[in-house]
C-alpha cells in the first residue's frame, strides 16, 4: 500500500483541509469584530477562544487514537483528511468498509487490491458530501424552523436552545450508558466533576476553572472508566 501513503496523496488532501482552516479564519475574524460591536468585551472573546482551544485537546487526542484504525486501513493522508473534514471515525470506518466490501474484503484484510482501496476512498468521499450539501444549501432556511419552535417569543429562544442541547446530549450519553458499566461511570463522573468545578468557579469567581472545567472532567472520567474496566468489568 505505498500508494496510500504516497506524496501525491498527501498533496491532494491539502486544498480541502485549507478550505476548512480558511473558513475558520474568516468566521473567526468577523465574529471577533462584530462581537465587539455587539458589546462583548475583549475578555469574553478571549475566554471563548481559550476555552475552545483547551477543550479541544482531549477530544482531538481521542480522535487521533481512533484515526489509528483508519490509518491502518486507508493510509495516513486520507485518514487525516477525512477526520479533519466532514467526518468522524463513526462514519468513515463503516463507509470505508462498505467500499472494500464491494470486492468481498473486510477492513484490515491482508492484500486488499488497489481497486478496492480506491473504492473505499470514493465511498467515504461521496458519502460525506451529503452533510456538506445540506449544510451549505439548507442552513439559511433553518432559522425559520427555529423561530417557529420559539413561537416568536424572544425569551423562549435560550430555553429552546438549551433544551435542544440537553436533548442532543441526552441522546449521546444514553448511547454510552447502553454500551457498558465503565462508559456509564465515565458519563456520571464527568458530569459530577463538571458540576463541582462550575460550582467552585461560581462561588469563588475564578475564571480559569471555567476554562479548564471540561478538560479536567474528561480526564477524571477517563480514569474512572479505566478503573471500572479493570475492577468490575461490564455488567451489561
Amino acid at each position: 500500500m505505498d500508494i496510500a501513503n504516497s506524496r501525491w496523496l498527501w498533496l491532494s488532501t491539502i486544498p480541502v483541509v485549507s478550505v476548512v482552516l480558511l473558513q475558520a479564519a474568516i468566521f473567526l475574524r468577523r465574529a471577533w469584530r462584530d462581537g465587539k460591536e455587539m458589546g462583548l468585551s475583549e475578555d469574553q472573546l478571549r475566554t471563548g477562544f481559550k476555552t475552545g482551544l483547551i477543550s479541544a485537546i482531549g477530544p482531538a487526542v481521542a480522535v487521533l487514537v481512533g484515526m489509528l484504525a483508519l490509518i491502518a486501513t486507508v493510509g495516513g493522508p486520507v485518514a487525516w483528511m477525512r477526520l479533519s473534514v466532514i467526518g468522524s471515525v463513526a462514519f468513515e470506518l463503516p463507509a470505508a468498509e462498505l467500499g472494500v466490501s464491494q470486492f468481498g474484503y473486510g477492513l484490515g484484510d491482508e492484500g486488499i487490491t488497489e481497486t478496492a482501496y480506491a473504492t473505499a476512498v470514493w465511498s467515504m468521499t461521496l458519502g460525506g458530501t451529503g452533510w456538506l450539501l445540506v449544510s451549505a444549501l439548507g442552513t439559511p432556511h433553518m432559522e425559520k424552523a427555529r423561530q417557529k419552535l420559539g413561537n416568536g417569543k424572544d425569551k423562549l429562544i435560550p430555553i429552546i436552545s438549551s433544551a435542544a442541547m440537553l436533548g442532543a446530549f441526552a441522546y449521546f450519553l444514553t448511547g454510552e450508558v447502553a454500551a457498558g458499566t465503565p462508559e456509564t461511570g465515565s458519563v456520571a463522573v464527568g458530569g459530577l466533576v463538571m458540576l463541582l468545578l462550575l460550582r467552585i468557579a461560581d462561588q469563588r469567581d475564578v475564571q480559569w476553572i471555567r476554562e479548564w472545567a471540561l478538560g479536567v472532567a474528561m480526564i477524571v472520567g477517563l480514569f474512572v472508566g479505566v478503573a471500572l474496566q479493570v475492577t468490575v468489568g461490564s455488567w451489561w
Binding site: W32, S84, L133, L137, A168, Y171, E176
Partner: protein, 248 residues
C-alpha cells in the same frame, strides 16, 4: 476578570442589529461558498488515484458502495443538520458540518466556551462565542491530527492496549456527561425530561421495538430526543414551570 457584562449578555437592540444585518448575511455568503468548494476539493484523493495512479474502480462498485452508504447514513445528512442547528446556530452549522466530529468535539467546545464567557446559548452573543470556540477547536484538531498522522502514530501504537482502548472509549462519555451537567444546572427539569426521553428511546431501539421503521431507526432516537425535549421545555415554560436563569 469574569467578564460579566450584563448588557452584553442580555442582547441589546444595537447588538442584534449588527448580528442580523451584518454578521449573519456575511456568514451565509461565505459559509455557502466554502462548503460548496469543499465538496469539490474533497474529491482530491479520489481524483489523484484516478489520474496519477490510473486506478479506475468499476463504476458499479462505486455505485454499490455509495448506495450502501446512502442507505445507512443518508437520513443523517438531513436529520443531523436540522437537529443540531438549534444548538450550533448559523455559523456553527457551516463550520461543524465542514469540519466533522460534531458531538465529540465541536458541540462540547462551543458549550464550554459559552459557559466560561458567560453568554447564553441561542442568543446572538452566544453564537459569536461559539463561532470563536469552534474556530479554535478546528485549529487544534487539524494540527494535532496532522502531526499525529505523520509522527505520533508509532508512539500511540506503543501505548498498552488498555490505554488505547480507554482513550477511544471513555474520554468521550465523560465529555457528554460534563456538557449535559453544565446545561442541567440551569434547567434541571428539562435535563430530567431529556434524559428520560433519550433513555426510553435508546432502550426501545435496543429492544428492537422500532424495527418497523425503515432502515436502522437510530434517527428516530435523535429526532425524538432533541425535538421532544424542545417541545416539552416550551410547554413547561408556558406553564411557568421553568424560566431562563438571570444574567448576573
Amino acid at each position: 476578570m469574569s467578564g460579566t457584562d450584563s448588557s452584553a449578555a442580555g442582547g441589546s437592540g444595537t447588538g442584534s442589529d449588527v448580528y442580523q444585518d451584518s454578521f449573519i448575511p456575511y456568514i451565509n455568503t461565505w459559509g455557502r461558498r466554502t462548503n460548496l468548494l469543499a465538496v469539490l476539493l474533497s474529491l482530491g484523493p479520489a481524483v489523484v488515484l484516478l489520474t496519477v495512479f490510473d486506478i479506475v474502480p468499476p463504476s458499479q462498485a462505486i455505485i454499490g458502495a455509495f448506495v450502501s452508504v446512502a442507505a445507512t447514513f443518508g437520513i443523517f445528512w438531513v436529520v443531523e443538520p436540522i437537529s443540531y442547528y438549534p444548538v450550533l446556530g448559523i455559523p456553527g452549522t457551516y463550520m461543524a458540518f465542514l469540519s466533522g466530529n460534531i458531538s465529540n468535539l465541536r458541540l462540547p467546545c462551543a458549550a464550554a466556551a459559552q459557559e466560561s464567557a458567560d453568554v447564553q446559548t441561542g442568543t446572538p452573543q452566544g453564537s459569536i462565542i461559539s463561532t470563536i470556540a469552534i474556530a479554535a477547536s478546528i485549529g487544534v484538531n487539524t494540527t494535532l491530527l496532522g502531526v499525529g498522522a505523520f509522527a505520533l502514530v508509532s508512539a500511540f501504537q506503543a501505548l498498552p492496549g488498555l490505554w488505547q482502548n480507554a482513550l477511544e472509549s471513555y474520554l468521550v462519555p465523560a465529555v457528554f456527561g460534563a456538557i449535559f451537567a453544565q446545561f442541567g444546572r440551569d434547567y434541571p427539569k428539562v435535563a430530567g425530561v431529556g434524559f428520560v426521553l433519550a433513555l426510553a428511546m435508546t432502550l426501545l431501539l435496543e429492544a428492537g421495538v422500532l424495527n418497523f421503521l425503515p432502515g436502522y431507526p437510530l434517527y428516530v432516537v435523535i429526532i425524538v430526543s432533541v425535538f421532544g425535549t424542545i417541545l416539552i421545555a416550551r410547554w413547561m415554560w408556558e406553564q411557568g414551570m421553568i424560566e431562563a436563569p438571570e444574567d448576573d
